[in-house]
C-alpha cells in the first residue's frame, strides 16, 4: 500500500518543485493553455521545447553512464492515435492538462477542482473498460517499445544533437513571432 519512505520523500520534493515551476511559468492558467491551442500564446510550446532540449541531453548522458534507465512506452497506433486525439479534445474542452490542473487547484481555481474530479471518473472508466478495449487496441499495428535511434539504427547522440539544434532554431522563430504571452492578469 505504501512505497518506501525515501521514494515518497523524493516524490514530495520533486512534486513541489514541479508545481512551483508550472505555476510560475503561468501554465496553470486556463487562458495560457487555451491561448496555445488557439495558436495565440506560445508559452506552453516554449516551456515544453526547452524542457525536452535540456532533459534529453542530461537523461541520455545519465543512461550512457549507466546511472539511469529509459522508460519507453509501446508505439501502439490505436493507443497513440485514439488516445492522443481524445486527450487533446478533452484538454481543450476542460482547458487544463493533468499536471497543470493540479497546479491550478493549488492556485485555488474551482473549475480546475471539478475537472480533476472528472479525471478520476475518466481514469476509472478506462480501468474498468481495460479488458473490453483490448480487441480494439490489438486490431491496429503496434511497433513496440522503440526509440527513434533504434528505429533508424543510428546513434542516439546524433538524434540528441539534431533535436537540440532544431529546438533552438524553432524557439528562435517562435520567439520572434510570438514574443509575449496573452494577458493573464485577472
Amino acid at each position: 500500500m505504501f512505497d518506501e519512505p525515501v521514494k515518497l520523500v523524493l516524490g514530495l520534493v520533486t512534486g513541489i518543485l514541479f508545481g512551483v515551476l508550472l505555476q510560475k511559468g503561468q501554465v496553470a492558467k486556463f487562458q495560457v493553455l487555451m491561448g496555445q491551442f488557439l495558436l495565440k500564446d506560445f508559452t506552453v510550446v516554449k516551456i515544453m521545447a526547452m524542457a525536452i532540449a535540456v532533459g534529453t541531453v542530461g537523461v541520455h548522458a545519465l543512461v550512457s553512464m549507466g546511472l539511469a534507465e529509459f522508460h519507453i512506452q509501446t508505439a501502439s497506433l490505436a493507443r497513440v492515435i485514439v488516445g492522443g486525439v481524445l486527450f487533446g479534445t478533452g484538454l481543450s474542452i476542460f482547458g487544463l492538462c493533468p499536471g497543470t490542473s493540479v497546479a491550478a487547484c493549488g492556485e485555488g481555481r474551482r473549475d480546475a477542482m471539478i475537472g480533476v474530479l472528472g479525471m478520476f471518473v475518466g481514469a476509472g472508466v478506462y480501468v474498468a473498460a481495460f479488458e473490453a478495449l483490448q480487441p480494439m487496441i490489438k486490431a491496429m499495428a503496434d511497433y513496440g517499445k522503440v526509440t527513434l535511434p533504434q528505429l533508424t539504427s543510428t546513434s542516439p547522440w546524433l538524434w540528441v544533437g539534431a533535436l537540440v539544434a532544431l529546438i533552438a532554431i524553432a524557439l528562435a522563430i517562435v520567439e520572434r513571432l510570438h514574443p509575449k504571452r496573452l494577458n493573464t492578469k485577472l
Binding site: 520533486t14 491551442f37 526547452m50 488516445g83 492556485e107 520572434r176
Partner: protein, 196 residues
Amino acid sequence: MKRRLSVMVLLLLPSLTSAADFGVDATHYDGPAWSPYIVGAGIGVLSWLTFYFSDKPIGASSFYATVAGFIGRLVARRHTESLSYFQSNPPSVNWGFVFVICTILGGFIAAWTGDEIRNEWLHPMWVDRFGDSIALRGIVGFIGGVLMAFGSRLAGGCTSGHGISGTLQLNSGSWLTVIFMFIGGIATAMLLYTAL
C-alpha cells in the same frame, strides 16, 4: 548545394542571435511570472533528478487511475482488485501519487508567494464566449476532464508523461502521441472559440 546551405545559414543567423536573449525576456513579463525558458530548463533538470534518484520519468496521468483505484476499493473492493489494469498497476501510495499531490502544494506555494491565489470559477476568455454561468463551466470542465483522463490512460501518458518525458527519451510512440494530442487540442479549441 553549398551555396544554398550558406544562404540558409545566413537567413537563420538573425533568429539565432535573438535566441541569445532568452534570459533577458524574463523582464518582459509582468508580476510574478518567470520566463518560459527558465521554467522549461528547470523542468528539464527536474527530469534528470527523477530519472537519477527515483528511476521515474515525470508524469501526472497515472495518478488519476491510482485515485480511481482507491475509490473503487472503498465502493466495490473485490471487483476493483479483479481488474487486470490494477493487477499490473496496483493502486498504492507510491512515488507518482506523492508527486502529483505535492504538485498541488507547489502550485499553492508559487501562487501564494506571487499573490496569485484565485478562488474563482470563471476566466474572462470563457465568459466572453459562454457567459458567466458557473454551472455550465463546471459541467463542461467535468466532461473535458473525463475525456482527457480516458485519453491519457489509453495513450499511456499526458502532456508531461509523453509530451516531455517520452519525447526527451526519443520514444517514437511519444512523438506520435504528442502530434495527435495537438491535432485534437487545436481542432477542438478552434471549434469552441473561433467557429461561428
